[in-house]
């Protein structure tokens, strides 16, 4: 979980004084997550590791100038994403994300045929059939490796902007404020992308769990 503010301050202070423990604490905390985030932009795990390494160099070099206007975490991820974009550009892979555009605007996130039509006298726009109750699914099925794999596939299939937001929010557990700052998008926009992403993952899970 997020360190208490005074801890973050202490960590930053220790880091500035060259405390190796402070540095390894930070690395242990964020390294795996940073590699996953870098993978959103670059093609290989190898390049992602390189991006993360460059990020740490950038963090150390920038420490003296870091004013703490954003949290240390937000600052680190911003550097990470900039580095990752540069690498992706070099690979000819980076396409400017239209994070502000919702290409699916107005489209329902649950298939319309799941609901009764408007002319249904009693139950217009109500569910045709009740969605499955996942509380009845045994924990070992729900939290199995196969289920998680299915989720990862669904995320991999998302448009890049939705994939980015759901990864940062629901996998890396960054706050909505952090994600908006890092990706430079509005709260509303972020929620729209998150909703679309979650809805698609839910639909994929539903299909998988029914088999």
């Amino acid at each position: 979980m997020e360190a208490a503010p005074e801890n973050a301050t202490q960590l930053l202070e220790a880091l500035r004084q060259g405390d190796e423990m402070a540095f390894t604490t930070l690395v242990d905390k964020y390294q795996a997550s940073m590699v996953r985030v870098a993978m959103l932009y670059v093609s290989s795990h190898f390049v992602a590791e390189e991006v993360v390494q460059e990020t740490w160099i950038g963090v150390l070099k920038g420490l003296a100038k870091f004013e703490g206007r954003s949290s240390l975490k937000t600052w680190i991820y911003s550097i990470l994403i900039n580095r990752a974009k540069t690498h992706a550009q070099r690979e000819g892979r980076y396409v400017q994300l239209s994070l502000d555009e919702d290409s699916e605007a107005g489209e329902p996130t649950v298939s319309p045929d799941r609901f009764n039509p408007a002319d249904n006298p009693l139950y217009a726009h109500h569910w045709v059939a009740r969605p499955d109750d996942w509380r009845e699914i045994p924990e070992e099925v729900l939290v199995s490796h196969e289920t998680l794999e299915r989720i990862q596939q669904a995320i991999d299939a998302l448009p890049p902007n939705q994939r980015m937001v759901i990864t940062l929010r629901d996998i890396e557990q960054l706050s909505s404020e952090e994600v908006c700052n890092i990706l430079e998008i509005s709260e509303t926009n972020q929620r729209v992308l998150l909703h679309r992403a979650r809805a698609k993952v839910r639909a994929a899970l539903e299909q998988y769990l029914r088999q």
């Binding site: 726009h125 969605p131 995320i155 759901i166």
Partner: protein, 86 residues
């Protein structure tokens, strides 16, 4: 203000706003009133909650890679150039 009741079809599009605490109070009240009387939407909301929970478990699927030594080297070099020069 309980004029307009939400339909199920409308409600499913508001779930993320609801979970993010982003609904204006009157919409939140309408949302909760609908959920209270609708088993189907209760199941749907539960599915969305579980989806989020399960997605979070992906962070435990660790990527291998041992960059610790290399990073320590970088740190020590940085320290050297910052604290031992001049």
């Amino acid at each position: 203000m309980t004029v307009d009741r939400l339909t199920c079809r409308e409600l499913v599009e508001l779930v993320t706003d609801y979970l993010e605490n982003a609904l204006p109070p009157e919409d939140r009240a309408r949302f909760e009133a609908h959920i209270a009387g609708c088993h189907s939407c209760t199941s749907f909301l539960e599915q969305m909650r579980r989806t989020i929970l399960l997605t979070g478990k992906l962070s435990e699927e660790s990527l291998n890679g041992d960059s610790g030594d290399e990073l320590l080297k970088i740190f020590r070099n940085w320290k050297k150039s910052n604290f031992e020069s001049e």
